[in-house]
């Protein structure tokens, strides 16, 4: 056959990046934390995660094909990431049908309503989690299938809030390794950090958001300590970073592309906002953990941040 000559405007080559590769990297980065969770909390972790992932992918496929009547986009793997992150935000013992409802809210309301990947103003997995937290508060805070030798059936942040735990009773090394009560994905701090380093290395995320979030939280705790002697657990920077969903939120949820700012300057402002709001909720709010709400609120501020934090125009001061 004679050659066909193809003409198109430049550039004629493309880098290795693709949406699928990025999402695949996030899945890979989340696997160590999932394994730690399954090891510490038992096999049900894998069951809940599987339900969440399958439900998210299925809902995206069904909504795209039959409601929006367009090409399915599940090949970009973003629904898998949403499924994983949603599961990571749930307690192990949660009934499977609640997981399915969470997936429907995450994908259906959180993502597809706005037009699918890239158009959603709020992190879909968080939308699902926050809905479940409000709709099923009992099941969402039931940690009874948690670590066998844990102090109580509640998370350490809740314990601290209730004044039940003191500094001497907290084992930071155990916290790093995942031996604490909490949502499935938030407990393996070391594994979460490892995955975060992988994402940094692959340039999927930049350091700006995680460092701004965690740095702000640590500084906030330090200021509390200066005001009050620093003896209490909720005044320890390291405690705040390792407890609850700080790492999961800062590294994996707050860095969601669609819902976070574009420029590095914007990312820093956004990260500081999340850190501040999280600490305000943790220290003075009604909920023991504030990461979800903080990210959710800052998601809403992202378009505004993008408007004002523009890149510096070349050749201007």
């Amino acid at each position: 056959m004679a050659n066909r000559i193809i003409a198109a405007p430049s550039p004629h080559i493309h880098g290795a990046e693709s949406t699928r590769r990025i999402m695949g990297d996030v899945v890979l980065a989340l696997l160590p934390a999932l394994l730690v969770s399954a090891y510490v909390l038992g096999w049900r972790v894998l069951f809940v995660t599987a339900v969440s992932v399958v439900a998210c992918v299925a809902f995206e496929y069904l909504i795209a094909r039959f409601l929006l009547k367009r090409r399915s986009t599940i090949g970009d793997l973003s629904a898998v990431v949403t499924g994983l992150l949603l599961a990571f935000n749930l307690p192990t013992g949660i009934p499977w049908w609640i997981v399915v409802i969470g997936a429907l809210v995450a994908i259906g309301i959180g993502k597809m309503t706005f037009g699918g990947l890239g158009c959603n103003p709020f992190n879909p997995a968080l939308t699902g989690r926050i809905f479940l937290l409000i709709a099923y508060p009992v099941q969402m805070t039931d940690w009874t299938t948690g670590v066998p030798d844990a102090l109580t059936g509640s998370t350490i942040l809740a314990d601290v809030k209730a004044g039940l735990t003191s500094v001497s009773e907290v084992d930071f090394v155990a916290m790093l390794g995942g031996h604490m009560n909490g949502s499935m994905g938030e407990i393996g701090s070391f594994a979460l950090i490892l995955g975060g380093l992988y994402l940094l290395w692959r340039r999927v995320i930049s350091w700006h958001i995680p460092v701004a979030v965690l740095g702000t939280m640590a500084l906030f705790a330090l200021f509390l300590a200066i005001g009050d002697g620093g003896a209490a657990l909720w005044q320890m920077p390291l405690f705040h970073i390792l407890a609850g969903g700080a790492l999961l939120g800062a590294i994996y949820m707050a860095t969601d592309y669609s819902t976070s700012p574009m420029t590095h300057c914007g990312m820093l402002i956004y990260g500081v906002g999340i850190g501040l709001l999280t600490m305000i909720i943790r220290v003075w709010g009604a909920y023991p953990e504030g990461m979800s709400f903080a990210i959710f609120i800052m998601n809403a501020a992202t378009p505004l941040i993008n408007k004002y934090c523009r890149p510096k125009r070349f050749g201007t001061k």
Binding site: P9, S10, H12, H14, G15, S18, R313, F314, G315
Partner: protein, 448 residues
């Protein structure tokens, strides 16, 4: 090691295919079609007619006004047509067609290979010779060099920058030129320094060409070339962009358009252009040939040919063993900024540093997906724009938004499209926005 301040990408340089191929002289074409526009500005006016006999190096097209360039005959023979003929993109342009008879040169041209360093000409005389020889920027932009060298009243140059970056993947013509014609280039650089009255010149070369850096440094160290420095730069595309190169070398940023490099005291010339300046000033030789790389992963052979202008692209492709199997994309230039050719019998021109051939899958674009707002385009833009936003404004035809977000600053380097994980043709949209906004600005100016 120095580089430009923001944005940029790291495409594989793919220079291995042709970088070790020494410059060869391509056989003379049997006939040439010489376009009267091979530069930015007004087309030259043909001064020969059908039936005229011409010599190699004879003026056949006269510059029309200041921003224009002379065109000379690349071969000797008889003019067979002066007509509108299709160029590489299929657009009709005024061309002079010459059938070759032997290779007889204009007498005043010194064809000896002996290096001639000494020059006592005044700056004005050098610029006049550059203008006479029809020299234009040979890095691709084809801006008339004499215009660049004629520094406007009230402004002053303090540095000459020679662009030996060749950041465009695949191309190796400047690289081979620096290696094999280094002395000619250095004399050319000295002449350019004299023309714009500066005592400092920096030759910027990316550090993926260590042998070119070493070779030029050795030549400079010999002491015959005062004030010339060879500066290695950290390899990063688009370092060869004029603004990027000035920022890399001097740290100074040229303000947004319409400001020119001279506003920060810099004049930039391409490495091959410096050789052309040497030949024009010292040897009276007009710009009628250049080194052209023919390269591609799927070609049987690759070469760096000294090619007379007007030679059809197809000659180079034949010499490379013909087109590979399957669908092909043939580029005038490299893959980042080169233009796709549809007419292979069209002539090679002054700005053609290479012909790159892609085949099969490499020739096709990826499937467009939704923008995921990852911000990679924003971080890749070397000029500080928001490509995702400009592309969207362009798609929605919101030209005021595109103007407000500085669409006219775009240098069309292609970093945004290259880096987009959703395979969005960002630059396609931005080009449309840029052209529309520029037209709008002109229309407003005309109204006043």
């Amino acid at each position: 090691m120095k580089t430009f301040p923001i944005g940029g990408i790291h495409p594989s340089d793919n220079k291995q295919w042709s970088k070790d191929k020494a410059i060869e002289v391509l056989e003379l074409p049997d006939s040439v079609a010489v376009p009267m526009i091979q530069h930015i500005g007004a087309p030259a006016t043909p001064i020969v007619k059908k039936g005229d006999k011409v010599l190699t190096g004879q003026l056949i097209g006269e510059a029309t006004g200041f921003v224009s360039a002379n065109i000379h005959s690349p071969i000797s023979g008889t003019v067979t047509a002066v007509d509108m003929l299709p160029n590489g993109q299929g657009q009709r342009r005024m061309m002079v067609v010459i059938k070759r008879e032997g290779d007889e040169w204009v007498e005043t041209i010194d064809r000896s290979t002996e290096l001639k360093r000494a020059c006592t000409l005044e700056p004005k005389e050098i610029i006049a010779k550059v203008k006479e020889a029809g020299i234009v920027g040979m890095g691709g932009a084809q801006f008339p060099t004499h215009v660049k060298l004629s520094i406007p009243e009230g402004q002053k140059a303090n540095i000459l920058i020679i662009n030996g970056v060749e950041c465009e993947p695949y191309l190796t013509s400047d690289y081979r030129t620096m290696l094999e014609r280094g002395e000619m280039m250095l004399v050319g650089v000295s002449l350019l320094m004299r023309a714009i009255s500066v005592d400092r010149a920096v030759i910027g070369v990316e550090n993926n060409k260590p042998d070119a850096i070493a070779h030029l440094r050795k030549l400079v160290a010999d002491g015959a070339y005062r004030g010339i420095e060879v500066m290695p730069l950290k390899t990063r595309y688009p370092q060869g962009g004029e603004k990027q190169l000035i920022a890399a070398v001097t740290g100074r940023q040229v303000p947004p358009p319409p400001a020119l490099p001279i506003s920060v005291g810099a004049v930039v010339c391409n490495a091959s252009t410096a050789v052309a300046v040497y030949e024009a000033v010292q040897k009276n030789k007009p710009l009628i040939e250049r080194v052209v790389t023919i390269t591609g992963k799927h070609l049987k052979e690759t070469h760096n040919y000294l090619t007379r202008f007007g030679t059809p692209y197809s000659t180079l492709i034949e010499r490379a063993g013909g087109l590979p199997e399957g669908d092909v994309k043939i580029l005038n230039g490299g893959p980042m900024m080169g233009r796709a050719l549809v007419n292979l019998s069209a002539p090679i021109m002054k700005g053609c540093s290479g012909v790159t051939v892609y085949s099969d899958g490499d020739a096709l674009r990826g499937v467009e997906q939704a923008c995921i707002k990852c911000g990679k385009c924003v971080n890749a833009c070397p000029i500080g724009l928001e490509p995702y936003l400009l592309a969207r404004a362009s798609k929605l035809q919101k030209w005021d938004v595109a103007e407000e977000h500085n669409a006219t600053d775009c240098i069309e380097c292609g970093c945004c499209s290259y880096t987009c994980p959703s395979y969005l043709p960002l630059l396609d949209y931005i080009r449309i926005a840029k052209q529309t906004v520029m037209a709008n600005i002109r229309a407003r100016a005309n109204k006043k």
